[in-house]
């Protein structure tokens, strides 16, 4: 009964989404307030219906209702409750339910908190959001019904892929989808503004919170995914340039560019059509990720069981959404008026450079991900594109991004004094040099580039600190005044500094582990030990250990340094009988500056010892500390008073900028 209710709710949501996508748009064209108001009601109804559908599917998974095909294929009665819930989105159909549920959630949020939007813009945004909903709901109802029944119901299910039975991965998809779908709202705002024919500072200010939510969620989602790779794949790799990883990185890069260019629209009323284009492109990249993962056009470790029939449908959605968006762009963007002028060395200039570099980086990932597909289509032969390509192209592009990042926030608008800014950053340069020297002293000269990159990371982190210190006039006035200034400093400025520092910290982590990991692979007998980077790992015991839906072989290791106890590590190999798969559970000991990482694998062929792998990964925790800082920076910015709901708009529209004569082009 409940699954049928869920299915009914899906169909109902489709009907409601149809209403939402037509009536408000029509109403906005006719300036009919009542019709525009339908958009809000429909958004609430759609959210309610999809909450019901999502709840019904979750219920079926929680109670292990094996008359539902989706539950049979992805669940098992012995599975822990956490993974019964996570199993809802651990498959194609269920993940789509989550997708549309989040889509409807954002629609409802706009309806609820968009009171300060002009009625016509709100109606148009909700209509576009409704159209996206129609597409995905239609797709689900037509090809991917999660509530399909099986008769007779089997006694038990096939269990979820054990790799997905992991806390890190359980909540990775919801955050990723919050990000992808959040950018749908930026797209809707862009489309709405194009229909209105008006993009101004107020528009940028309305889009910003949604872009921040999406960006922060996506940052966290990507970080969780890489953390999961780090501790499950058995040797500490955290990024593989796999197409599915790239599919999440591309919207992140474009979204980061969007966040920055929207600032220029807000403050200086220029870069409008570029920002609109970025909003469309960011969501397109999110949708394209969905297409790549589910259509089977690319091979990936993480892809869903692929099906070209679904691929055709998603491609059609992509063509309608993006094609529609870009057509609207081609028709309406030329009428957008350009605003203020600025010198190349200025805050605007810095943000434009940021956009150029991030767009190029995004294009690089795009080419690297899709080029094999291009070669397939033109019959140019099969090629593979892996980490060596991205290390040679993407990484050099990120160097100037990080280098300029410290400068940007200190530049003044319109025209800046570069020499002055560099002077204020002397201390950051000093910290960079110290960081590089420290790396040189601790790790030796080998990879010179890594030493330089670490210096760059130090520069970036300190640059963010200098930015805040400068604004609160730290050490240049009494401390109490500085604290008071710090308290009144806009949250946006705090958010910028925190996020920028976070990127610097994350870069240090990436560099540290890529350049200076120590590895030891050997057969160890019980009681034997081996030295890794100054630590001694002793294998104490290996024993069977039962788990809820698996059996484990757990090893116990004692780690010492110069005879002093450091840690006990207990890595295990888990065998899941239902799926007949084995997973590796690495044991990790962290002291914040480095991780000790241990895996004990199969018994060695000689039968008496075990294959063991030990690592020391320097600075690796900083990757995730930095990512969390970036996300936190986004959330702090989000709490900025100026973005809050209901803030009077009297200052939001800097008409003054229009007083400057427009540039000849754009």
């Amino acid at each position: 009964m409940i699954p049928e209710l869920g299915h009914y709710a899906l169909v109902l949501a489709l009907v409601v989404a149809l209403v939402q996508s037509v009536i408000p748009l029509w109403g906005a064209a006719r300036r009919d307030a009542a019709m525009m108001e339908v958009g809000r009601t429909a958004a609430y109804c759609q959210f309610a219906a999809l909450a019901l559908a999502f709840g019904a599917l979750t219920y079926a998974h929680v109670v292990s209702d094996f008359s539902v095909l989706n539950v049979v294929e992805n669940s098992h009665t012995d599975k822990p409750m956490l993974y019964k819930v996570a199993g809802v989105w651990g498959n194609h159909e269920g993940s789509l339910v989550l997708w549309v549920f989040i889509l409807a959630l954002f629609g409802a949020l706009v309806a609820a908190f968009g009171r300060n939007l002009p009625a016509s813009l709100r109606a148009r945004v909700l209509a576009v959001q409704g159209m996206i909903g129609v597409g995905f709901l239609w797709f689900m109802v037509a090809t991917s019904n999660p509530f399909t029944r099986v008769d007779p119901a089997p006694l038990n299910g096939h269990d979820l892929n054990p790799l997905l039975q992991d806390p890190g991965l359980a909540f990775h998809p919801p955050f990723l989808y919050l990000g992808y779908v959040g950018f749908s709202l930026c797209f809707s705002f862009a489309a709405g503004a194009l229909i209105e024919g008006r993009v101004d500072a107020a528009w940028a200010r309305w889009v910003r919170p949604w872009a921040l939510i999406a960006w922060s969620s996506l940052t966290l989602g990507i970080a969780m995914g890489s953390w999961w790779s780090y501790y499950t794949l058995g040797w500490g790799g955290w990024w593989f340039w796999d197409p599915v990883e790239n599919a999440s990185l591309m919207p992140w890069l474009a979204g980061t560019a969007l966040l920055h260019s929207a600032i220029v629209v807000e403050k200086r009323d220029t870069l409008k059509s570029w920002t609109i284009l970025l909003a469309i492109v960011t969501f397109t990249l999110s949708l394209m990720g969905t297409f790549l993962v589910r259509s089977g056009v690319l091979t990936s470790v993480h892809a869903f069981a692929s099906d070209p029939a679904r691929g055709v449908f998603i491609l059609a959605l992509l063509v309608v959404a993006t094609g529609g968006g870009l057509l609207l762009y081609a028709l309406r963007a030329p009428v957008l008026k350009a605003g203020g002028l600025f010198a190349p060395i200025s805050r605007e200039g810095g943000l434009v450079l940021n956009n150029l570099l991030l767009s190029t980086a995004c294009a690089t990932v795009f080419l690297g991900t899709l080029y094999p597909l291009f070669m397939d289509a033109v019959g140019g032969g099969k090629i593979s594109i892996g980490p060596p390509f991205f290390n040679a192209t993407f990484v050099p592009l990120m160097v100037p991004v990080v280098a300029v990042m410290a400068l940007g926030p200190l530049l003044s608008w319109k025209r800046a004094d570069l020499a002055g800014v560099l002077g204020r950053l002397k201390i950051a340069a000093l910290v960079g040099v110290v960081a590089a020297l420290a790396a040189l002293w601790l790790a030796g000269t080998k990879p010179v580039l890594a030493v330089l990159a670490l210096g760059l990371a130090g520069w970036a982190v300190m640059g963010a600190v200098v930015d805040v210190a400068d604004r609160i006039r730290l050490f240049r006035m009494p401390l109490s005044d500085s604290i008071s200034r710090a308290r009144h400093l806009p949250r946006g400025a705090w958010g910028t500094a925190i996020a920028h520092a976070g990127l610097g910290v994350a870069v240090a982590g990436m560099v540290g582990t890529s350049a200076w990991t120590t590895e030891a692979i050997q057969v160890l007998h019980i009681g034997q030990s081996v030295d890794v980077a100054g630590y001694s790992f002793r294998l104490d015991s290996v024993a069977e250990a039962p788990g809820p839906n698996y059996t484990a072989r757990r090893a116990v290791l004692t780690v010492t340094r110069n005879g002093d106890f450091v840690a006990t590590l207990a890595p295990e190999q888990r065998f899941y009988p239902v799926t007949r798969m084995t997973t590796t559970g690495a044991a990790i000991h962290t002291n914040f500056f480095s991780d000790l990482y241990a895996v004990v694998g199969e018994p060695a062929p000689d039968g008496t010892g075990y294959n063991t792998r030990f690592y020391r990964h320097p600075l690796v925790p900083w990757i995730w500390v930095g990512s969390i800082l970036m996300m936190a920076g986004g959330l702090v910015s989000l709490s900025d008073r100026r973005l809050r709901v209901g803030v009077p708009l009297k200052r939001a529209v800097p008409r003054a900028a229009a007083a400057v004569p427009p540039a000849p082009a754009e």
Partner: protein, 181 residues
């Protein structure tokens, strides 16, 4: 002119979408991204000399493949499920007089023998490649794989995965007929 600039993203995107569409069509026809073309096409078979699967019967060697007869070389294994699905097709081909040489890939001899005893033996000769090195020399990346060898002992076609009736009708049989002329 300036307006046309704003059309560029749309044009680029439509190109991209069209190309996605072409790929989907190709995949639907079986040209999936994990299907590799062979670089060995039109090259002589790599040199090898493998011992027989069944003691006392002949093995398979590259020297015997350039004697003016068109042949199939089929890599298979007892542990490979898709190999079972193409077995009946191989039996039918053998019945029509096609000379098929089998290479049992990374398998226990007893297991390979047992399968042939149970399902029938379509091979004119069948050998064991225990180390898998001969397979690597052919560029095999998974079993089953089937190679069409021409009269001069050159590789002319590679089938990746089980031979389906369509592959047989549309590609393999016409090629054998043409090469045998």
């Amino acid at each position: 002119m300036r307006r046309l600039m704003f059309l560029i993203p749309l044009v680029l995107f439509l190109g991209l979408a069209g190309w996605f569409g072409v790929r989907l069509k190709q995949i639907d026809r079986g040209d999936t991204p994990d299907r590799l073309p062979s670089v060995m096409i039109d090259k002589p078979v790599p040199a090898f000399d493998l011992p027989p699967l069944v003691d006392g019967q002949p093995g398979v060697a590259s020297a015997g493949l350039a004697d003016g007869k068109v042949r199939l070389v089929n890599f298979w294994a007892s542990w490979c499920a898709p190999c079972r699905s193409e077995h009946s097709i191989l039996m039918r081909l053998a019945g029509q007089g096609v000379d098929i040489r089998g290479i049992d890939y990374k398998d226990k001899a007893a297991d390979g023998q047992a399968i042939l005893a149970r399902d029938g033996n379509p091979y004119a000769a069948v050998a064991r490649d225990e180390s898998g090195r001969t397979a690597i020399d052919f560029g095999v990346y998974g079993v089953p794989e089937t190679y069409v060898i021409d009269r001069q002992g050159r590789i002319r076609y590679r089938q990746v995965g089980p031979i389906t009736p369509q592959d047989l009708q549309n590609r393999i049989l016409p090629l054998i007929n043409e090469l045998s002329k």
